[in-house]
Every structure is written in structure tokens, then in C-alpha cells.
């Protein structure tokens, strides 16, 4: 009702603006002219109000669209380089440091030993920090640089994605720690 009242007031204001045209009318035609001008002014007012709402709706839709347009999805590949040692287990921590992304999926690696998607710590996930861990006791283990996981992200801002990756542990099939390096790379969209 308030909205209707506001529209009515606005239309009235526009009508008053429209009635300014009366000054140019002759006295004899004043009554006819007044009626015509009033109707015209009212219509003009209504037209302006309608145009205003149309534009507002459009702008609102554009704003929502722009917000959603800024959201994108991307994938970050995680690599572990165990040099010459076969990699049997790893635990690493991946963090989105500038808070512009949410983790929306975790995929396994390229080597058959780490093809299954790794497990994550649900408590850490609440802070967009993911602690990934996987192990394989089989004979076929990767060595050198291998992609062990892919993290799928929803980036909610136009700012560039900033991430941090720390290796917590890497081990061989005997359960001994091995030296390894970790790196990540944002995958180019297909």
C-alpha cells in the first residue's frame, strides 16, 4: 500500500509538472485545454513511473547477474615430487589464503596408486583449509613429480586466487619418511 501511495504521489507530482502547459492555453479553450492537459499530465506521470520501475527492475537484474557472473569454478592440481623414491603415502595442507574461494570437490590423482579421491579433515574444511591424506601399500607406486589430487573450487570474487600448500608428511612403502616437494597449479579451463 505504501508503494502504491508513493506511486500515486509521484504521479501527482508529474501531473503538476504536466499542468505547467496550461499557461500557454487561450482563455476560451481553457476548460478543454485544462482537461486535456490534466489527462496528458497524468499519463505522462504514469509513463515516467512505469519507466522508472522498468529500469529499476532491469538494473536489479543486472546487479544480480553481475554478482553471479563474477562467480567461477576452477580446478587446482596438486603435485608431489618424491624424486627417485616411490611415494606410498602423503599428507598435505591446502589453504585458500585470501578467502575468495570455496572448496567444492576433491578429485584423485593421475597415478593408479592415488586415483581414488583422498580423504579430507571435515573440521579443517570449515575454514576453506583442506588436509588431504592418502596411502597405498601396493607395488605400483609413483616416483618423481606426480599429480596426487585436484581440488575443485568455486571462486566468488574477481580477485586472483591465492593459495598455500604445505607438505606435512610423505612416506615410502616401508612407512619411513621421504623427502618430497609439493606444488600446485591452476588448471586451464577446457
Amino acid at each position: 500500500m505504501r508503494c502504491l501511495w508513493a506511486i500515486f504521489k509521484l504521479a501527482g507530482a508529474c501531473s503538476r509538472w504536466g499542468l505547467a502547459g496550461l499557461k500557454t492555453c487561450d482563455t476560451a479553450d481553457r476548460n478543454v485545454c485544462a482537461t486535456e492537459a490534466g489527462v496528458r499530465a497524468m499519463r505522462r506521470g504514469c509513463l515516467i513511473v512505469a519507466a522508472f520501475f522498468g529500469l529499476a527492475a532491469g538494473l536489479f537484474a543486472q546487479e544480480t547477474a553481475t554478482e553471479e557472473g563474477r562467480v567461477r569454478f576452477c580446478a587446482v592440481d596438486i603435485y608431489v615430487d618424491s624424486k627417485a623414491s616411490p611415494l606410498a603415502a602423503y599428507q598435505l595442507e591446502f589453504t585458500v589464503t585470501n578467502g575468495v574461494a570455496k572448496i567444492v570437490g576433491i578429485e584423485g590423482g593421475e597415478h593408479v596408486a592415488f586415483h581414488e579421491p583422498p580423504f579430507y579433515d571435515p573440521k579443517a574444511m570449515q575454514h576453506e583449509r583442506v588436509i588431504l591424506a592418502a596411502f597405498n601399500t601396493g607395488d605400483q607406486l609413483p616416483s618423481g613429480k606426480t599429480r596426487v589430487a585436484t581440488i575443485h573450487l568455486q571462486v566468488t570474487n574477481s580477485l586472483p586466487l591465492q593459495c598455500e600448500l604445505k607438505l606435512q608428511a610423505a612416506g615410502n612403502s616401508a612407512g619411513a619418511r621421504i623427502a618430497a616437494e609439493v606444488s600446485f597449479e591452476e588448471r586451464k579451463p577446457e
Binding site: 486535456e36 519507466a51 522498468g54 532491469g58 538494473l59 543486472q62 584423485g108 573440521k123 568455486q154 579451463p189
Partner: protein
């Protein structure tokens, strides 16, 4: 002008040149008509009435165009990828004849095809028929002047993506987006680890979003969710529900393959898979832990396969509606289960394997609900598989097994992880209870006579009540209440169990039939409101399938009106609402039992009488000794009945090895049980135990929210679920494949239709427009 609907607007196939020519022609025509009108009025002044009208027309048109243009720009920016075709054409296959093959593809439709939301398939022949009268036809031009920015705002039947595959079927299979469900179960002791694989396949020629409403056990601790696309497996992330839904919606609109799992009820879930391209398959794996029931020496594993059609009281919108396939929105409920009509069958089938490790030799194993094949690997290990001839998912799968030797004893199991120590305590009633007589009873039978019970279920329920009436002893009293739309009863107060009164009750019982709605609330009021006879133990026995959508209201009412009564809920049917029935018994401090289609109703009631004929150990209290425990669930300790253990789960915060003492009251005095407690250091890791404890805590908090107006409870549930990575009403699993976007719009939503449960009457339960 239905075809101007935003979601269905299509660009004209005509060239821009043709359009411009047409617009010029239209302008000329308008100018010439305007000139004629002005000549007729004898006026050429723009300030005269004719001029005013002309001006107004122009201005109105200008404003309209402005408004529509701005809206269109906005929606194009936000949703140029949103247009959702409501066309579904099955992919050509061996079953589809030339008529179907010649059906226009999605790409071809804007030029000359008719939008189809319905596909008829009769005797293996696919027929396409239009559903809207005002749809673009060959050669007709459509100029897009607006496109809806939010398809959800449309009427349910016109929702973008709500186009449903329709079929006219006479005993034929219908292609559905859900192809197959594979269930693998590993049972060890009383813990089941269950892996459910749902295989979604797009059998149509355009992209779809598949939506499947399905059941899982209400005590399932769902802790894993993986989406598989080809060889790639993406682990889903547990998130706050609203956040997960938003992520899914954005991914869907942007064309990414995504999946979302949400909980509608503790035993009803919705699986949504977006942007399945034609002919492609996407699998979703769900994993959960579940505790098995243990009754009278038998372990019982249950896997529900279909959600039964629920009745929702008038005015309710948050229920679970039962609608006919192809009629979304017919129930007006927030969640809808789509049912196949009579004579229809979907292409969806199920395979199930259960590997049982009893620890000690398995003496007996039975499955009355399905045909199974079994393979004994070792004396203590048996593998059971669903027979290929029995793969229609229209009833609960129930497997029971019994191990050799003495019945189990009370025991404690502990485990520790980085968060805490956990325990589960199984309290088993002592054998002494079996030798004692019982007190006089006041038995109230409450019979569900609603439409969903018509046919076999009501016959079974009546047979069970009849047997119960005949088993009453002279000192007992009874009452018989039936409810559907309203409740009515045998008399104003309980009758003595005299032969005359029993005969009178039997005549009344035989006159009852199943029809109408399920106003269970009326039955509860009638059963719990009349004065209690303190000389007798009041047992209220509900015989129902539990097909209602207002569970919260029912459980809250039971809690409010219970008084000294004990509630025994008896599930009658093939695919029951076990969540409701279990909670009724839990809140009512009684027990639950299920009467399947292949069970003997008389034997079922005799077992019940055997149980209540022994006194229960009531008012249980536990002295934990030197063990420090916290958050033990259930918080309200139930009575201990012969043959039915009570399982408690909690956290260990410290302390040392000691004896746990359980005390309780019996008819002839107090009783005490002693249970040795192993140290945490000695305990074997039990990976399921933290999840099971967290699930019990969620269930307890949800139960408290029924009768406790505490706004913090939902937040507490959400936090426990997030900390332990579990599904709940306030959390959801979401998985997005961000590496690739599919072409085109987000696709049409296709709900997977399911059969009505075995023995349930379609006509009396499913809503059709």
C-alpha cells in the same frame, strides 16, 4: 501467448533482414492507419484527443520497450545460459521406432519442432505429442522480447526444467534418468558398512538434471559422497545446506556437472545431478554406517528401497507429497515423490550384496522379503546376493541372521581418535527376567485405517489385533481405536477382557476398512487422553505403515501426552516409515516391531505378548565407576525388555578401568548388572564409532527440538554434522566438476519416478491432478 514465456522463448529462424523488412512494413501500416483515423476525426493537431491517444500509444510502447529491454539485458547478463528447454526426446535406441527417431532434436526444435513435454510409448513405440496449444510451429516467427530471469518463479507445471518425461505404458518399461542402484553391505557384529552406488544415465537427446527422492535407514551415518564421471572420481564436500544448495545452483546454471545430496527427513533424501549430457552416465557413491537391530537372538539388517506415499494434513506444505509421474506440484508439498502409474515400470533396477561376518559360526540366516542366493565362505562368513529375478526396488530388504552359542551378554566397546575417546555399551536383560510373571495390562490397540492401509496391510493388521484380543487374560482390560480422517473407538473407556467384550471387539474389528487420510494425531489423542487405571500397565499399540508427512507434529504430541503409558509401534507393510515408528517407540519408552508381507500376523502378536508377559527392568541408572563419560545417547534411558538390548553410545573423557554398574527396578525389587570396562589403550580402533556417536547426538538434538523451543539446537546439529562430516537436515554434500562446462542451457529437470510399495494401493494414496 504462452510461448512468450521466458523459459520457452526462442529466437526466430528468420534472418535479421526479414525482421527489419517486417518491422518497416508494420510501421508503414501503422502510419497509414493513423492517418486514416485522424482524417476521420477531422483533426491534425497533436494536442487534440486523437493526437493524445497517438502520443500515449507511442509513449506506452516506448516505456514498455524500455522496461522489457532493461529486464532483458539484466536477465541476459545473468542467465543467458539459463534458458531451459522443456523438450525431451529419447535417444534413438533399439526400442524406439522411426517415429521417435525422426523426432526433432533440441537444436532443431526452435526452427520447426513442437515443444514436447510428453512422450508416449505404447508397445515399444515412442510417440511425441505437444502439450501446449500455443507453441511455435513450423515457419512461425518468434521474437524474443523477454526471458525470465528466475525460472523458479513460474507455476510448478511450467517450471523451467520441470518438463517431465511422460509415457503411455501398458506393462512396458519407461526410460528414466536413474538406471541402476548397486548396494554392497559389509556386516560385522551389529555394525553395517553400506556402499550405495546410484547410476544416472541421460536417455534423452538434450541435457537434463536428474532428481531422485530415495530412502535410507534413519540411523544411517552418511559420511562419504563421491561423484564419478567416466574414470574421474570427485569427492563431495559436506557444507551447510543452504551454502551447498547455492553452490549447486550456480554450477548448474554455468553448465558444470554437479551433484547435491540433501536430507528431507532422517530417512528421506534427495539426490540431484545437474547437466547430464545426452547418453552420458554419472554415478554417485554414498557410504554410511548403520547399527543393526538385535531382537531375540537375531541381528536384522534393513535396506529400504522406496519411499512410501505420505499423507499430509490439510494446510501443510513442508511435507512429503505423493504425486503421479509427470505431475510436479500436484501435492503442494516441498518434497515430492513421483510414482509410476499402474502397469508401468521404470528401467531402474537394483542389485544388492551383503557380506556377513558373524565373528562366530552363523547358525541361521533368512530373508523373507526377497529371493536371494547365498554362499558360505567360512562358517562365520556368508555372502548373500539379491536374485536377478527379484530386482524391482519396491519394498524393504530385510536380512536376519543368528549366530551360534549363548545369547549375547552386556558388553562395552571403546575406540579413540584424535578428537576423543568413544564407547558403545550394549545392555542386555538378564535371564532371570524370563522366569517372572507379569502385571495385569491395559492394552490399547490403535489401528490405522487410512487409504494406504487398504488391502493386504489392513488385513494383516486386523489379524494381528484379533490374535492380540484372544491372548488377553481375565485381569486385563483393552480398548480398540481406529483412525483415518477422524478417530473412533469401541467404547468411552477400556473394557474388561471378558469373552463377551472380546467377541464384541472382534465384530467391531471386522467391520473396519482402509480408506481416507491419515490423521494420526486424532488416533494419538484418543489413545493417550483417557484416564489411566493405576492397577494395570498401559501399553498403547499403534498398527500403521507410518505414511504421513507430519512426523514432527506426531512425535511432539506423543511426548506431550504420554503420561505413564508405554508405546509399542507395529509397522505393517513392505516399505515402512521406520523413522516415525522407531521414534514413536523411543519417545514412548516402548519397542518397535515390523510385520512384513510374508510374516505370520498371529505369530507376530504372540511374540509381542511373550515379550510383554515378562516384566521390564525400569528406571535404569548407570554408575560409570572410575570411567569419566560425557554426552551419552540416548539421554533418556529406555526400559529393558526381555530379548531386546539397549545400546548406549558416548564419549570417554578420562578415567581408568573399572566396573560399570547398571541398576533398575523390577516388580519384585531392585536389580543390578555389572559390566567390566576395558581400558582405552587396549581397545581396537573402531572407525565407525565416532560417526555412530555423532549420528546419535544429531538424532538426540533433533528429538529435543520437537518439544524444546531452543533456537540453538539447529545450530548445534549443524556444527556436529560439519565437524564429523555427516549428513543432517542442516548440512548437505555437494560435488562440482569445475574442469569442464557443458554446452547449452542447464537442462530439463527430470524426477525419477518410482513404483508404489508392494501391497500399497496406488489409487488411494497417490495424488493426480
Amino acid at each position: 501467448m504462452k510461448s512468450f514465456n521466458g523459459a520457452r522463448a526462442f529466437l526466430s529462424a528468420a534472418s535479421h533482414k526479414d525482421l527489419a523488412l517486417q518491422r518497416r512494413k508494420s510501421a508503414k501500416l501503422f502510419r497509414s492507419r493513423r492517418g486514416q483515423e485522424c482524417a476521420r476525426s477531422g483533426s491534425s493537431s497533436v494536442s487534440g484527443p486523437c493526437g493524445l491517444v497517438r502520443r500515449s500509444w507511442r509513449r506506452w510502447l516506448l516505456v514498455l520497450c524500455l522496461a522489457l529491454l532493461s529486464t532483458t539485458i539484466g536477465s541476459m547478463v545473468s542467465g543467458c545460459k539459463k534458458a531451459s528447454p522443456a523438450y525431451l526426446t529419447p535417444l534413438p535406441s533399439g526400442r524406439v521406432d522411426s517415429a521417435a527417431e525422426s523426432a526433432p532434436s533440441q537444436d532443431a526444435l526452435p526452427r520447426g519442432g513442437k515443444p514436447m513435454r510428453e512422450m508416449g510409448v505404447t508397445e515399444g513405440v515412442a510417440k511425441l505429442r505437444p502439450i501446449l496449444a500455443a507453441t511455435p510451429i513450423t515457419g512461425e516467427e518468434l521474437w524474443v522480447i523477454a526471458r525470465g530471469s528466475e525460472p523458479k518463479s513460474e507455476a510448478p507445471e511450467d517450471q523451467a526444467g520441470s518438463g517431465e518425461l511422460m509415457a503411455e505404458i501398458e506393462g512396458k518399461e519407461i526410460p528414466m534418468p536413474l538406471k541402476h542402484t548397486d548396494v554392497r553391505v559389509f556386516v560385522s557384529g551389529y555394525i553395517g558398512s553400506v556402499q550405495v552406488k546410484q547410476q544416472f544415465l541421460n536417455p534423452y537427446s538434450s541435457k537434463i538434471e536428474a532428481v531422485y527422492v530415495f530412502p535410507l535407514p534413519h540411523n544411517a551415518a552418511i559420511n562419504e559422497f563421491i561423484m564419478t564421471i567416466g574414470e574421474r572420481r570427485i569427492r563431495g564436500i559436506i557444507r551447510e545446506r543452504q551454502e551447498a544448495e547455492q553452490i549447486y545452483q550456480v554450477a548448474k546454471r554455468q553448465g558444470h556437472v554437479a551433484s547435491l545430496l540433501t536430507e528431507e527427513r532422517p530417512n528421506i533424501f534427495t539426490q540431484s545431478v545437474a547437466n547430464i549430457e545426452p547418453g552420458r552416465e554419472i554415478d554417485v557413491d554414498i557410504h554410511y554406517f548403520q547399527t543393526l537391530e538385535y531382537v531375540d537372538g537375531w541381528y536384522e539388517f534393513v535396506f529400504p528401497m522406496v519411499v512410501g506415499p505420505r499423507f499430509n494434513p490439510p494446510g501443510m506444505t513442508a511435507g512429503v507429497g505423493a504425486v503421479a509421474r509427470g505431475q510436479p506440484g500436484a501435492s503442494g508439498q516441498s518434497t515430492e515423490v513421483h510414482y509410476l502409474k499402474r502397469g508401468e515400470r521404470s528401467t531402474h533396477d537394483i542389485s544388492l550384496t551383503v557380506d556377513v561376518d558373524g565373528g562366530v559360526p552363523i547358525e541361521e540366516l533368512e530373508c523373507k522379503t526377497h529371493q536371494v542366493t547365498r554362499e558360505a565362505i567360512l562358517p562365520e562368513r556368508i555372502s548373500v546376493s539379491l536374485s536377478p529375478a527379484d530386482r524391482l526396488p519396491n519394498r524393504d530388504f530385510v536380512l536376519r541372521y543368528r549366530v551360534a552359542g549363548e545369547q549375547i551378554k552386556s558388553s562395552l566397546l571403546t575406540s579413540r581418535d584424535e578428537r576423543s575417546g568413544y564407547f558403545t555399551l550394549m545392555l542386555y536383560p538378564p535371564k532371570e527376567l524370563e522366569n517372572l510373571g507379569r502385571q495385569p495390562l491395559e492394552l490399547v490397540f490403535v489401528l490405522d485405517c487410512s487409504g494406504s492401509m487398504s488391502g493386504r496391510p489392513i488385513r494383516e493388521a486386523k489379524a494381528a489385533v484379533e490374535r492380540g484380543l484372544r491372548l488377553l487374560q481375565p485381569g486385563d482390560s483393552f480398548q480398540l481405536i481406529n483412525f483415518s480422517e477422524t478417530a473412533s473407538q469401541l467404547g468411552p473407556e477400556p473394557l474388561s477382557a471378558t469373552p463377551q467384550n472380546v467377541q464384541h471387539a472382534l465384530r467391531y474389528l471386522h467391520s473396519l476398512e482402509g480408506e481416507g487420510g491419515t490423521m494420526m494425531l486424532e488416533g494419538i489423542k484418543a489413545a493417550l487422553d483417557f484416564p489411566h487405571d493405576p492397577e494395570r500397565l498401559r501399553f498403547v499399540c499403534f498398527l500403521t505403515d507410518g505414511y504421513i508427512g507430519n512426523e514432527t507434529e506426531i512425535l511432539s504430541e506423543i511426548h506431550r501426552r504420554l503420561g505413564p503409558a508405554r508405546i509399542f509401534s507395529f509397522g505393517i507393510g513392505s516399505a515402512l516409515n521406520r523413522n516415525l515408528l522407531d521414534h514413536m517407540a523411543q519417545i514412548g519408552r516402548g519397542a518397535v516391531a515390523y510385520l512384513g508381507p510374508h510374516d505370520d500376523a498371529a505369530k507376530f502378536m504372540e511374540d509381542f505378548f511373550a515379550r510383554i508377559s515378562h516384566p521390564a527392568l525400569t528406571d535404569l541408572a548407570i554408575d560409570w565407576g572410575a570411567l569419566q563419560v560425557a554426552e551419552v545417547f540416548p539421554q533418556q534411558l529406555p526400559d529393558l525388555f526381555v530379548g531386546r538390548p539397549v545400546i548406549l553410545t558416548g564419549r570417554i573423557t578420562g578415567g581408568a578401568e573399572s566396573l560399570i554398574r547398571v541398576t533398575g527396578k523390577m516388580a519384585n525389587g531392585p536389580m543390578q548388572l555389572e559390566i567390566p570396562c576395558p581400558t582405552l589403550a587396549d581397545s581396537t580402533p573402531q572407525p565407525w564409532l565416532p560417526s555412530a556417536w555423532a549420528r546419535m547426538k544429531i538424532a538426540e538434538l533433533a528429538k529435543r527440538s520437537l518439544y524444546e523451543p531452543n533456537r540453538k539446537l539447529p545450530e548445534q546439529i549443524r556444527q556436529v554434522a560439519l565437524d564429523y562430516g555427516l549428513m543432517s537436515a542442516f548440512t548437505a554434500f555437494v560435488a562440482v566438476d569445475s574442469t569442464r562446462k557443458s554446452a547449452g542451457s542447464e537442462g530439463t529437470t527430470v524426477p525419477a519416478a518410482v513404483p508404489v510399495p508392494d501391497g500399497v494401493n496406488y489409487d488411494t494414496t497417490v495424488k493426480e491432478k
